[in-house]
Subunit: 442 residues, 3 copies
């Protein structure tokens, strides 16, 4: 049944791509940050697909080693050059204003202004993305071409922003399953006008939610978290960390899922959790890909999920990883950089993981002494013609029967046999229907 | 003593090759199948070298998931074409008749006949080998060249065969040793007029039996099984499976041992049993070879021995594996394809495995604190001349003394040291004679 | 503090090189052997830097499987050819006389003399180094060029040597630490006029001793052994073996440390002891190097330390290993072959091992739930500028915090993170000062 569902979804992909793009267009211009109106409005748009409960953490509250910052709002910001020309206009591109810039109005000459300007000499056309959440400061980000050609003289600096007591907010959704074992998907929503890192993450999650919700039944409970990066994960773990330590069997941080590159999986800290095992099998079956060891020295919220006090089974399935494409954290990570076919494929890939997890039982061969006589069970051509088209299927049958020993789960069978997990899932059904295998009683 | 025996045998190899060929010539024309007269006559010929007890399993008997089929005999079979020419004459080559073809007499035009004809478009000169043991059917196998040139019109089809209640039979021989720990050799005898797969297997086994029988003493009990493939192994395990689970320490399925290719070892399902360890060391010492992981998706009776209910330590030492040479299961797998030097070498290789198994004790260094002063024991030249011929032997002595710690068996020492097992066996004798090592008491 | 000490030492390296060379020049001409005056005089010179206690083992005493040999002294030795020319003059090069040659005076013609002559056809300019400690014999070592041109006729053979009851002697020094866990450095001093193998070993040890002695505090106790190779290690283990089995955590045999080649580490028999782990990390950080598995079939005193009754955690850190450079055990392993910069670097490398061992604690992250807010602790720039110079340091901080879980020691963190151990040691101090990590209580 679930497979039929999956097929139906794939047939809808054209429509899916269009829907993803429409949501992208609405989310793109909002000035998201780790707090504030941009985050809230973005979450509200996503709630049309994935309704979430909102968790709130008040400014000044201590959360583990962190203190919740003030809320930030930016209304306008720009520079007026000595020649009267406007530079770094926030209303043109919200990347021009350094995230969490404190309000400032004044006149500075170019020498005084320069320490507040950020540009990328190696990417002279790109506006960099810079923030200063936890250290009072203000700044403007401009292309290096502009930076180099700024006229000498006195500049009018105008930043109409505000920092005030408020909240860090997190969106959380849960789709219950037959068991209280949980699968977590976590993404972040705090980057303004950046496409691959980050709108690809929340968009993939929203449409993945839609698919999982449509499943007729679920073995596992699915948990979805949309937060501001780092501080949001810290807050979320302060509320749900102990619960997740008890119930989480697999989790994924969703980011950088919209470019045309091959998939990359960053292993969990443990490195061989169920999250890692299923991702490795699914990626193996999908073609060219990369598997990276866990590293805490960079990355996203898996750093918090995999901190030593939690050490949760959380990896991260991406396409081209943050830091590995030059457009990362610049104005060039925009709609032209991403590809809606890739985004739709990312939803498929995550749903394949869900399907494999849902099918990952331990089976026992009911005829464990020697092979069954497959022909009698209608499972085998009794004429041994070399090189039949049935070879791949027969091979999967024989592998399954051999490894259905009550010790290998389906992922282990996929791993050892080299058979595609999708083929194994289909063969499991046939063997189960023929009473040749039965789920292991626990 | 055993080594002297081995040497003597190698000196007789010329005679051995001639004897193997003589037996091959007698076995070749018999129409073997999984039951019947051809199997019985073949076994009777082999009994001149390896006397066996016969186990019988009656038609209709249920054995695990299998039902013993009827016996099959074929007396004659052919096609008469519209032009009066005889095709697919069973008396010319018994591969022309599909194994287990039911009796049939009638007239069919070419269109009706074609579904009963088997040929290989990619090997137009070869007659394929096809059987239909468990599904009533009849058919003829012909070269694709002939198939393409069959004249249109009506054919006389003649198959004088018979299916009747009878027996599946298995030949079993046991050479007892000092312990009830057993080594198994298993081969099959159900293929008509195929040389590498299969006559090479029973021939290697018969002459290996001869050598093991001639050993003055044996630590292990050796068990030899000659059966019809698959159904025979299923039957045999129904009788001896529980015994083997208790006593078997190593076993090998013998097949494809007559071609000129390098050796291939297919690991047991477990992958690191004594059977695997000794085969790996012997092959390492022998030169170029391949080690393959276990797979149940193809292969021979190791699929039954390694089914999850048994999971016996059984691998398969072959030369070029079934399916890996184009002549496999065709009329081109004939006397010209194989090589009697290779067959004789296969007997040697299996006997090397036996020698290594018989020598595989755990030793303890009696002078375990520091090295012994080898010179005092007559084991070391006291003049340290660089690059002497003694280097390899001295190296083996020092490795043995270092690893004779009561934890490494001789195979583990061979593995870690890289020393040839044959050299280690010889050095063990010297060190043991000098009281520098003693077998570990269990 | 220790790091400051290390820096100070490195600044003194120029002086160190000069001091090493001065000691080399004094040690070079002495006719060392496994016993006797040459060994004693050499040890006395080294005692100016590393004061040792002398352990003595009397001739004829049984030590494990060995018997202490007589002492040997050589006063003069040469050949006078038929043409009156002197050959193989011990006073010109003490390698000319085979080590432990018995006294001999007589006249032999060339045919009778030849079995007593050693030369190297492949290295015609080199005098080989040959000994016969445990088998009464005499001999001369000459270049193959000389050997080939020896005139026919009668030779006067003169060997003024003496074998007499005496002692095998061992020098031992101990620098106590805060714990009774010990680190061993072992080297040998029995080769006459050979530079890399062996003077490099005792010289590196002496100056390493000087550095370790200068450390303001030590966690471990350091033990230094200077012995005649093999027999000395056997004797030493007969006295200290049981003690070392209780207390030794890491040990190294120091040899071949003076050539310009890259470092080579021969693993201990166990292969993953603390000695091995620290050496692997230090070498990884140092650049190109080789790691060799343990082998008892050649080598130095690690063969005794790693004999099965002891199986101590002793490896060997060398530059170009014995047997791997053609000059080995010939007159070409001389002052020109070695390089005092390399020797000084070998002292540094061993001291890096000591530093890493002393810093190898298990740490616990005090904020184990999520990452700490590094900015608040003054450890992190809050402006996320891409590619800052701080990246490497921040990476080390994040790795340390993630792996400070009470299970990884610092070497394990270095291994998994890929961060340089020296950087980690420095970051440990910062994190510890900020109370973000604390040593694990045992």
């Amino acid at each position: 049944m679930q497979r039929i569902q999956a097929k139906a979804n794939i047939m809808l992909d054209n429509k899916l791509r269009q829907r993803i793009e429409a949501y992208f267009n609405r989310l793109w211009p909002l000035n998201r940050s780790i707090t504030g109106q941009g985050f809230r409005e973005s979450l509200a748009i996503l709630e049309e697909i994935i309704p979430v409960k909102r968790l709130k953490f008040e400014t000044g509250r201590k959360v583990f080693d962190w203190v919740i910052p003030k809320e930030w709002i930016a209304r306008d910001a720009y520079l007026i050059a000595p020649d009267g020309k406007k530079y770094a206009d926030f209303k043109v591109n919200n990347l021009h204003l350094m995230g969490y810039s404190v309000p400032f109005k004044g006149r500075l000459n170019l020498e005084e202004l320069r320490p507040h300007l950020y540009s990328l000499p190696n990417m002279p056309d790109a506006i960099p993305y810079v923030t200063s959440y936890y250290h009072d400061n203000w700044g403007f980000c401009i292309s290096h071409n502009e930076f180099e050609n700024l006229p000498e003289g006195e500049y009018e600096v105008y930043i109409d922003s505000e920092l005030f007591p408020g909240f860090v907010e997190i969106g959380e959704a849960v789709l219950p399953g037959d068991t209280d074992e949980e699968v977590l998907f976590s993404t972040y929503l705090c980057h303004p006008s950046l496409a691959n890192n980050e709108l690809s993450g929340p968009l993939t999650m929203a449409f993945l939610y839609e698919r999982i919700k449509a499943m007729p039944s679920r073995k596992y409970t699915y948990r979805f978290v949309i937060n501001p990066e780092t501080i949001g994960a810290v807050c979320y773990l302060s509320e749900r960390g102990e619960h997740l330590k008890k119930h989480l069997i697999a989790g994924y941080v969703m980011t950088c899922l919209g470019d045309a590159g091959k998939f990359t999986y960053k292993l969990s800290r443990h490195g061989d959790t169920l999250a890692d095992r299923v991702a490795k099998v699914i990626l193996r079956d999908s073609g060219e890909h990369s598997i990276l060891p866990f590293f805490p020295s960079g990355g996203s919220d898996e750093r918090q999920y995999c901190s030593p006090g939690f050490n949760l089974p959380v990896g991260s399935l991406m396409r081209t990883m943050y830091g590995c494409y030059p457009e990362y954290h610049t104005s060039l990570d925009n709609k032209e950089f991403i590809c809606f076919d890739a985004l739709s494929g990312s939803v498929d890939m995550y749903f394949s993981i869900v399907n494999a997890l849902e099918s990952n039982f331990v089976w026992k061969n009911t005829v464990k002494y020697c092979e069954p006589q497959l022909g009698h069970h209608g499972l085998y051509s009794s004429v041994s013609i070399p090189k039949s088209q049935q070879e791949e299927r027969t091979s999967a049958i024989l592998w399954l029967l051999n490894l259905a020993d009550g010790e290998h789960d389906l992922l282990a069978i996929a791993d050892r046999s080299g058979c595609k997990i999708e083929l194994l899932i289909s063969v499991v059904r046939e063997l189960s229907d023929a009473d040749l295998i039965a789920p292991k009683k626990i």
